[in-house]
């Protein structure tokens, strides 16, 4: 299957773009290529940057950090992309999709930034005492769910939270399981995302 792609006429970018509509084809083609230049030419980079920026904005907001050292959330995304191009963060040997790599790396960059801040250092102190015992996690999950309820979370939000805690996190999978339109889940996730920072202070005291 992989040898087939060597005989495809040029330009390769055209076939990558077509392959994007056929996930299995895209998977095999990317396995064969894994070339940053071709990837950047073929993906919808505009769309990816929007998604990454939205994630970064909400992640930083939820950490309660007011001072980003003069940076905007978009700057975290831009700096990361340039690191990937310069090779400081190596996608070509990462063995995952470019989108997955960018989200994973952005999560790591923001996490490192927060650890360096006062907010992060305070959180670190508290998390160093956090336990990982299964029964304790069950109890903590229950307590977080109760806090969400007290903060005004509706049944839909609580249900989505439970799915997350069970390891089911893709909105489409949750929607399919419930037999509802995925847009309902998107709306619920947005409400839940806005609700979570309201309980972070109280959730710290659970530990």
């Amino acid at each position: 299957m992989l040898m087939f792609f060597n005989f495809l006429p040029r330009p390769r970018i055209f076939f990558l773009r077509v392959a994007n509509f056929f996930p299995i084809l895209a998977y095999y083609y990317r396995q064969e290529l894994m070339n940053l230049y071709d990837e950047l030419q073929s993906i919808d980079l505009d769309d990816l940057l929007d998604r990454l920026t939205s994630y970064a904005t909400n992640r930083l907001k939820s950490a309660g950090l007011k001072d980003l050292g003069g940076k905007e959330p978009f700057d975290f995304v831009g700096d990361l992309l340039l690191k990937v191009i310069e090779g400081t963060r190596d996608w070509e040997n990462a063995n995952c999709s470019f989108t997955d790599f960018m989200f994973g790396s952005l999560r790591s960059e923001i996490s490192n930034f927060l650890k360096g801040s006062l907010v992060g250092q305070t959180q670190d102190l508290l998390e160093s005492h956090a336990y990982n015992n299964q029964d304790d996690i069950k109890e903590e999950r229950q307590q977080v769910s109760e806090l969400l309820q007290q903060a005004g979370a509706d049944d839909d939000e609580l249900m989505v939270f439970e799915y997350w805690m069970d390891g089911i996190c893709k909105p489409r999978e949750i929607a399919e399981d419930l037999g509802i339109d995925v847009k309902e889940i998107y709306r619920t996730v947005k409400r839940l995302e806005r609700r979570l920072p309201k309980i972070r202070e109280q959730a710290k005291s659970i530990i």
Binding site: E92, V144, G167
Partner: protein, 131 residues
């Protein structure tokens, strides 16, 4: 909140941002970004810069590789020569390049242009260290 719970929440939010449809994403950005026009302008600049930088990196790596292969052919260094022969044998359209001594810079570019340049440079440099 323990790391376990926090990680699951973060995994779920990442899944959400990867999957959410474009219309909903556009609405969210209008709320998230104070000046959407400035954001769109910066984003356009970044896309242009990113693609241009990637192209420059690619061209620099390509020229570096061509030079290494040319030197290897002249000095008859086993591994690079074997690599070139393998690329030629693996692709029917490259059959006319069988005679390595007569390869020009453009011919070598044609042979290696679809390979992973970073990986190739690494392999050749490791081989040079072993020599």
């Amino acid at each position: 909140m323990s790391n376990n719970i926090k990680n699951r929440i973060d995994d779920a939010l990442i899944a959400f941002y990867k999957e959410v449809d474009k219309d909903a994403l556009a609405d969210m950005l209008k709320d998230d970004v104070s000046d959407i026009d400035a954001y769109n302008k910066k984003k356009k600049q970044l896309v242009f810069l990113a693609r241009a930088k990637a192209q420059k990196e690619r061209n620099d790596n390509l020229l570096k590789l061509v030079s290494k292969f040319q030197q290897a052919i002249e000095a008859n260094i086993e591994k690079p020569v074997a690599m070139l022969k393998q690329f030629i044998q693996g692709n029917a359209s490259l059959a006319l390049y069988r005679n390595l001594d007569k390869l020009s810079k453009e011919d070598i570019i044609e042979i290696i242009k679809d390979q992973n340049f970073v990986q190739l440079i690494e392999e050749l440099e490791n081989d040079e260290k072993r020599q």
